[in-house]
Symmetry: C2
Subunit: 775 residues, 2 copies
C-alpha cells in the first residue's frame, strides 16, 4: 500500500506529514477532517491560505439557494486565528519554515501542527492543537502555543468569520453579533430558505508561561465577522498560549429551546471553559474509547502497520461523520467537503450500514429510521413519476424533501444544451438497497420493535413501488423493468438490469412474507398498515406478478447478463483504464455514448448481486461471472473495490482479494492528489471494514444465521474483531491455526463451512482453520 | 505631497510601483482600478492571491440578498488567468521575483505588470497588459506575453469565474455555460432578487512569436466556472502570447434585446476580436482623449509633477466611474469596491457635479435626471416619514427604491443591541444639496429644456418636502427644524442645524421664484405641475413660512452656531486628531456620545454653507467662522478638505489652502494603507478638480454670473483650464502676471474683483493678476 501520509510502525493511530506542500493542502484538509457526527471541520490551517477549502458543516442543516438544489451550508468559521509576529502576518509562504509537522491522532481526534517560523533572525516556534469534542457534540477547542528565542510582539485576531460559502453560494443570512460579559463573542445566522437558525460562540483564554492573563479582547466587527484581538509583548523563551473555546447550536437541535438558544449556548460555553484544554480533550477521548474503539474493535497482527491504520482511519471517519439523529443521514462525503452537496445515497445502506449493524446497532437503527421518516419524500417521488408506494430518492437531504438530485448538469459545452442527470429519474435500485440493509439489520439484531414500528412498513411500501414499476410484456407473459441505470453507471437507459430486476423481485417476495406474517401474528399492525397502504389490493398484485418477474439467468457459460443489451456489445481491452491514479480515466478516450456501446463496466452489477445474495448462486456461477466481469470493470467508483475484494476472498482468490483490498484502502489515503480534495469517500471507509471483517474475517449472514468463514491474508498473523449479534457481543479471533469465537452475554450459534457451532454464554469455541483451509 | 505610488517627472499620466508588497495589494487594486462608467474592475492580479478583493461591477445593477439592503453585486470574473510554468503554478510568493513593475497609464487606461519569475534556474519574463474599453463599453481586453531563457512548458487556464461574491454575500444565480464555435466561452447569470440578467463572453487568441496558433482550448467547467485550457511547449527565447477578449451585457442595457443577448453578444465579441490588442487600445485611447482629456483640460506648470498627477488621477477616476445612463448614479466609491454597497450620496451633487456641470454638462444632466427618476423613491420616503413632497434618500441605488441606507448597523458589542443608523432617517440636507447642484447646473448651462422637463419640478417638490418638514414654534412664532444630522456627522439629533435650516429656507425661496416664473411664462407647465404637486396650496404654505424660518445668525463674534447646542459644548484641543494617517482617530479616545458633547466637528457645516453661498456672507463673518471652526475640524471625512481649501484660497490664506489641498490629494494616493482598500473616495476626486479650478483657478458662479478670481499657488508657474459656460467653451490661463480668458463659440462675460469683462466670440481678454493681488 502507498499512502500520501506518513504512518508510524509503533502507533497505528498516527497519520501525519513532515513537509508543507501547497499542492496537498486540499487532500490533507479532507484526510485530517475532525468531527463528531453532529458537526465537523476540514483540517485547514488556522490562518487563511490560498486555495484552501475552509468548510465547517453541521449535519442535516440543508438549505437551497435560488435556482439550485438543496445542499449542506458551509458555516461561519470558528477555528480562524490570524497571528502577527512583530507585525509580520504569519504565513507559511513567507519567511523560512523548519521542523514542520502536521498530524492527526485517530484515537482521540486531536489535530496538531508544529513548526518553526524564522523571520528577522528570530526563530518562533508554533504548536497548534485542536479537537471537536466527542463528549459535547457542540464543542470545539483549539490552542496555540508560541515561543521564540528572542523577544517578540504577538498579535492574534480570532473569532467567528462568517465570510464563508459553498464555492461562493451563500446560504446564511447575517444575524446579530455581540459580546457577552466582555468575553463571549457571539454571532447568529440563519439559512435563507430552510430558515434554520444558528448560534456560534467563542471565548478565549490567554496565558503567559501558563499563567492566565486578564487581557480583554479589542473587538473588531466586519461584514459577517466578529473578532477579538490580543496584543502581547513576549520575552525570549516565554510561552504565549491562547486557548479558544467555541460552540455551535441550531434550531434543529433536539431538546433545545430555540428562543433561548442565544443565552443557553453562552451558559454552556461558560461551563465548558471552566475546564482546560487537556481536561476537555481527555473527556472527549474517553467517549471515543468507550463508544467507538471498544464497540468496533478490530486488531490486525501483521508486520505491515498499514492495514491497522486503514481500519482505524475508516472507523475514525465513520464516527466523525455519522449523525446520531434520525432526521439526518451520512452524506456520500460525510460532512468532510462540499462534494455531492452533503446528500446521502445508497452508499449508506449498501456500504456503511453493515459496520453499524454489527458494531453499533443503535446507530444503524437511526439511519434506517431516517428512511422511515423519508417515506413522505419517497411517496412524493413515486407520485411525481406516476408510480405508487415508496420510491426512495437517489439523493436525499431533509427526509421529507424527496428527490434532491440536481435535474440538470452542466451544459454540453458544444451544443450548449444542459445535460439531464438521469440518476434522479431512473437509477431506481436504491429502493431495494434500503430493504436489503433493513433485512440484514433485523436479522442481525432481532429488533422486533423496529420491525413493527418501521421496518415492515418500509418493506411493504417499497414492494408496492416495485409492483407499480413493473411493465407487463404480453407477448412473453412476463414483467420487465426497462429504461433504468443499474449500479454500473456507465450504462444509461438499459432494459432488465440483472441487479434491479433481481432485487425488485426479492423485495416483493419479502413483502409477501411480511404480509402473511403480520396478518397472522399482529392483526392490529396489519389493520393499520392495510389502511395506510391498501395492502389487500397490493398483495393481490404481488401474487399475480411475483413469479412472472423476468430475472436474467446464467447463460451456457454461466454468465448472467448485466442487462438485455450488455452481452451483445463490443468487447475491448479495459486493462489500461484500471489505473488507480486517475479519476474517470476512460473518459479521456471515449465519451459516455461510446462507452455505452462497449462491454466496459464501472462497477459490476452482477458481482454485487452475488455478494449480497451469495446463497442463491452456485460456486460455478460465481466464478464464471467473476471471470467475465472483473476484467471488464474499471473500478472508476469508490464502491466496487471492496465488494470485489470480498468476493475474491470468498472464491479463494487470496492474492486478488488482497490487491483489491489495498487499492480500496488507498481510495482516500493513497497518493492521488485530486481524489479526496472535495471530501472523503465514506462508502470506501465502510468498505474497509467490510473487506476486513466480512471478507478476510468471513463474517456474514447466511439465511438469517451468523456465518464465520475467515480467509486470513498471508501476511497477516492474526485478525481479531468484535460484533454484535442478536444482543450478544461476539469476539472473533483468527490466526493460521484457529478460529476462536467467544460469546459475551447470551450464547450464540454460528455456521462454519456447513457445520453449526454453539457458543455458550460467556464462553468460546475454537475451530481449526489450518485444516479447514485444505478441505 | 507624499504618494504611495511612484510618479514620473516627465509623464504626469504615470502611477506605478516597483516592488511587490502584499500589504499594499488592496490599496493598489483600488488606485489602479480600470473602468468606463458602464463597468469596472479592481486591479487584482490575473492569478488569485490571498487577501485580494477581486471585484468587477456593472453600474446600477443593484440586488438585495435576503435580510440585507440592496447593493451592487460583484460579478463573475473575466480577467482571471492561472499560469503554470513546467507545472509550477505562477505565484509571486513562490520562487524569486525580479524587475517587478506594475503601473497604470492614466491617459489611455492601460494597466501593465511585468516581472521575471525565477524557478528551477529558469528566468521567465511575464508582461501583462489590459484595459477596459472606453470606446465599446462592454469590452475588456487583456494580454500576457511570456518568454524564458530556457525551454519551458506553459499551461494557461483562463475563462469566466463566477466564484465571486460581495464579501461572501452571493447575488448571482448560476446560469447556463457553453462554448460557441469551439472558441467563444459563455456564461449567463441573474441577480437573485432584482432579476437582472447578465451574459459574459470570452475568447482567446494564442500566438507563438507573433504567429497565430490554431490551438483549441481544452474546456473545464466547475460550479459557476467555465475555463479554456492551453498547454504549449516553448523553446528558449520564443514568445508566448495569449490575448483574452471579453465582454459583458445585461438586461438593463438600453437598446438591447435581452432575449437575443446571448447570441448578439457573441457576435459583438466576434467582431471585436477581428482587431488585435493594440488596435483596440488605440480606439479606446482616442475616446479618452476626445471625450475626457480635451473636455476637462487642466494644465499645471510647476516643478512638482504631483499636482498634475493628482488632477489627472481625479479626472481618470471620475471618467472610469461615471455611468452615462440616467438610471444610474456615481457611488460614493464609484464601482471601485464594495464600500458603501455602490450607493450614491450627496457626494455626487455637492462634490462631483461641479466638475461635470463645467466640463461635460451632458453628464451632469444625466446625473440630475437620475434624481428626477428618483422622485418616485423620494415620495415613498417622505410618505414613510409622514412628510409631503420629495424627500430624497440619504443613500440611493435603483432610482425608484427610495431610501437604501441600512436600518441597523452592527450591534453595540457591549449591550448587544443593534445600533440604528440615523443618517437614513434624519440626515435630511441631501434634498437641499440636490436643488443647489441643480441650480448651478441650470445657471452654468442655461439648459431650459432640462429646467422645464425636470428641474423646476424637482425644486418645487423638494420645497414641498421642506415645507412639510418645518416645525412651528408658537412661543417664538418661528419655524424650526429639530432632531437632524447636519453634514457634521459627529452630532446626531441636533436642533436648527445652520446648514439644514439655511438651505431649507433657500429651497423654499427658490421654489417661490420658480412658481411665479412658470405661472407667468409657462402656463401649460404650471397647470401640469399644479396637478401633480397641488402647487397653489403648497405656495400658500411657503409664503406663510418663508420669512419665519429660523436660521442661526452671526453672534457678537461673527460666529454662526452650527446648531442650537454646539456653542455651549465643551471646547477641547482637536489638533491631535487632525493627523491624516488614521481613520476615525478620535474614536480611539472618545465614543460617539462623548464626542456629541464637545465642540469637535467632522466637517464644518457653517464653512460649507459659506462656500456654497459666498455672496451671502461678509468677509468678516467668513473669517470669523473660519477661525472658529477650522481648528475644531478633524477632517475625518474625505469631503471637508477640498471645501476648506477653497475657502482658504478665497480668504487669501494661501499656505493653508495649499496644505489642505495636498492633504486632500493624498486621500487615496497617500501612504495610508487602509484608506482606499475598500474603494476610492469619489467625492475627493471631485474635490481635487474643485480645489484646482474653483479654488486656485477661482472659477465660480456669482448670482448666476461667471466669476473668475484666481489664487495661483506660489509654487505653480501657471494654471490653464477649460470650462463650458452657457454653451461656450471658456479657456482660462493664469500665471503670475496675467489672467487670460478666451471664449470659443459665443462670447462670454465674467466678473473679476467686482469688474465685469466681456470676451467676444473666439477672442480673449487679459487681466493683470500681479496688480490685482496688491489691491
Amino acid at each position: 500500500m502507498k499512502f500520501c501520509v506518513n504512518t508510524d510502525k509503533k502507533n497505528s493511530w498516527y497519520i501525519g506529514v513532515n513537509n508543507y506542500d501547497p499542492k496537498m493542502i486540499n487532500k490533507l484538509e479532507t484526510l485530517m477532517f475532525q468531527g463528531n457526527g453532529y458537526m465537523g471541520m476540514r483540517a485547514v490551517s488556522e490562518e487563511r491560505q490560498l486555495n484552501e477549502r475552509r468548510n465547517m458543516f453541521v449535519s442535516g442543516t440543508f438549505d437551497a439557494f435560488p435556482s439550485e438544489v438543496t445542499e449542506l451550508p458551509n458555516l461561519p468559521d470558528i477555528l480562524n486565528m490570524e497571528i502577527q509576529i512583530d507585525d509580520m502576518p504569519l504565513s507559511l509562504s513567507t519567511g523560512r519554515v523548519e521542523n514542520y509537522q502536521k498530524s492527526l491522532n485517530l484515537k482521540n481526534g486531536e489535530l496538531t501542527r508544529n513548526f518553526d517560523w524564522i523571520i528577522n533572525d528570530k526563530r518562533v516556534n508554533f504548536k497548534y492543537s485542536r479537537f471537536v469534542s466527542m463528549k459535547d457534540k457542540h464543542l470545539f477547542v483549539s490552542k496555540v502555543e508560541i515561543t521564540s528565542d528572542k523577544d517578540i510582539n504577538v498579535k492574534v485576531q480570532s473569532g467567528i468569520d462568517g465570510q464563508q460559502s459553498n464555492s461562493e453560494t451563500q446560504h446564511m443570512m447575517e444575524g446579530d453579533k455581540r459580546l457577552y460579559d466582555g468575553k463571549f463573542i457571539q454571532m447568529k445566522s440563519e439559512t435563507q430558505q430552510s430558515h434554520i437558525k444558528f448560534v456560534f460562540n467563542v471565548r478565549h483564554k490567554l496565558y503567559v508561561d501558563e499563567v492566565l492573563m486578564g487581557n480583554k479582547p479589542y473587538m473588531k466587527m466586519g461584514r459577517r465577522q466578529i473578532f477579538g484581538n490580543y496584543d502581547v509583548d513576549m520575552k525570549a523563551n516565554q510561552k504565549f498560549t491562547l486557548v479558544k473555546y467555541a460552540n455551535v447550536y441550531t434550531s434543529m437541535d433536539e431538546h433545545h429551546n430555540a428562543d433561548k438558544m442565544a443565552e443557553s449556548s453562552v451558559d454552556d460555553l461558560k461551563f465548558a471553559s471552566l475546564s482546560n484544554y487537556k481536561e476537555l480533550l481527555q473527556k472527549s477521548a474517553r467517549v471515543w474509547n468507550q463508544n467507538i474503539w471498544k464497540k468496533s474493535f478490530v486488531q490486525i497482527e501483521s508486520d505491515d502497520v498499514m492495514p491497522q491504520v486503514s481500519i482505524n482511519f475508516a472507523r475514525y471517519q465513520l464516527a466523525a461523520n455519522t449523525p446520531h439523529d434520525p432526521r439526518k443521514n451520512i452524506g456520500a462525503k460525510g460532512i468532510t467537503g462540499e462534494g455531492y452537496k452533503g446528500h446521502s445515497f445508497w452508499d449508506t445502506e449498501t456500504f456503511m450500514l453493515p459496520y453499524y449493524t454489527f458494531t453499533m446497532p443503535e446507530v444503524a437503527r437511526n439511519l434506517l429510521t431516517y428512511r422511515y421518516l423519508g417515506l413522505e419524500g419517497a411517496h412524493k417521488k413515486a407520485l411525481a413519476n406516476n408510480y405508487k408506494g415508496a420510491q426512495f430518492p437517489w439523493e436525499a437531504a431533509h427526509p421529507a424533501d424527496g428527490e434532491t438530485t440536481p435535474l440538470w448538469g452542466s451544459a454540453d459545452i458544444v451544443t450548449g444544451k444542459p445535460m439531464k442527470i438521469w440518476s434522479g429519474f431512473i437509477e431506481q435500485h436504491i429502493t431495494s438497497d434500503i430493504v436489503i440493509a433493513l433485512m440484514d439489520y433485523m436479522n442481525a439484531t432481532g429488533d422486533h420493535d423496529f420491525a413493527e414500528k418501521m421496518g415492515f412498513e418500509i418493506i411493504l411500501d417499497a414492494a408496492k413501488f416495485w409492483s407499480s414499476r413493473l411493465e407487463y410484456n404480453q407477448a412473453q407473459d412476463i414483467y420487465e423493468i426497462n429504461d433504468v441505470i443499474g449500479p454500473d453507471e456507465y450504462k444509461e437507459h438499459v432494459n432488465n438490469n440483472a441487479y434491479t430486476n433481481f432485487t425488485a423481485r426479492w423485495c416483493i417476495q419479502k413483502a409477501i412474507k411480511v404480509y402473511n406474517l403480520i396478518k397472522e401474528d399482529n392483526p392490529a399492525l396489519y389493520v393499520d398498515l392495510n389502511d395506510k397502504l391498501n395492502l389487500k389490493k397490493t398483495y393481490g398484485d404481488w401474487i399475480k406478478q411475483v413469479n412472472k418477474i423476468y430475472v436474467p439467468q446464467p447463460n451456457a457459460d454461466g454468465v448472467i447478463a448485466e442487462d438485455d443489451q450488455y452481452l451483445s456489445k463490443k468487447i475491448i481491452d479495459v486493462s489500461k483504464f484500471k489505473v488507480n491514479d486517475q479519476i474517470s480515466n476512460v473518459f479521456k478516450y471515449y465519451n459516455l455514448s461510446q462507452i455505452n456501446d462497449m462491454q466496459i463496466t464501472k462497477q459490476a452489477d452482477v458481482l454485487l448481486l452475488i455478494y449480497l445474495f451469495e446463497d442463491m448462486f452456485t460456486d460455478k456461477v460465481k466464478m464464471s461471472n467473476w471471470n467475465y466481469y472483473e476484467p471488464k470493470t474499471t473500478h472508476d467508483s469508490s464502491l466496487s473495490l471492496s465488494i470485489h475484494s470480498i468476493l475474491a476472498s470468498d472464491l479463494g482468490l487470496a492474492d486478488e482479494a488482497y490487491k483489491l483490498y489495498e487499492m480500496s484502502c488507498e481510495t482516500d489515503l493513497g497518493v492521488h492528489v485530486g481524489k479526496a480534495a472535495q471530501g472523503l469517500h465514506m462508502a470506501a471507509c465502510g468498505g474497509v471494514w467490510n473487506m476486513t471483517v466480512q471478507g478476510f474475517g468471513g463474517m456474514r449472514i447466511d439465511n438469517g444465521r451468523l456465518k464465520i468463514e475467515p480467509h486470513l491474508p498471508d501476511n497477516w498473523k492474526s485478525l481479531k474483531y468484535q460484533i454484535q449479534w442478536q444482543g450478544s457481543t461476539v469476539k472473533v479471533s483468527v490466526d493460521n491455526e484457529n478460529l476462536v469465537v467467544e460469546a459475551v452475554g447470551k450464547g450464540v450459534e454460528f455456521i462454519n463451512h456447513g457445520q453449526t457451532y454453539q457458543v455458550a454464554a460467556n464462553s468460546n469455541v475454537a475451530v481449526e482453520t489450518s485444516v479447514e483451509e485444505f478441505v
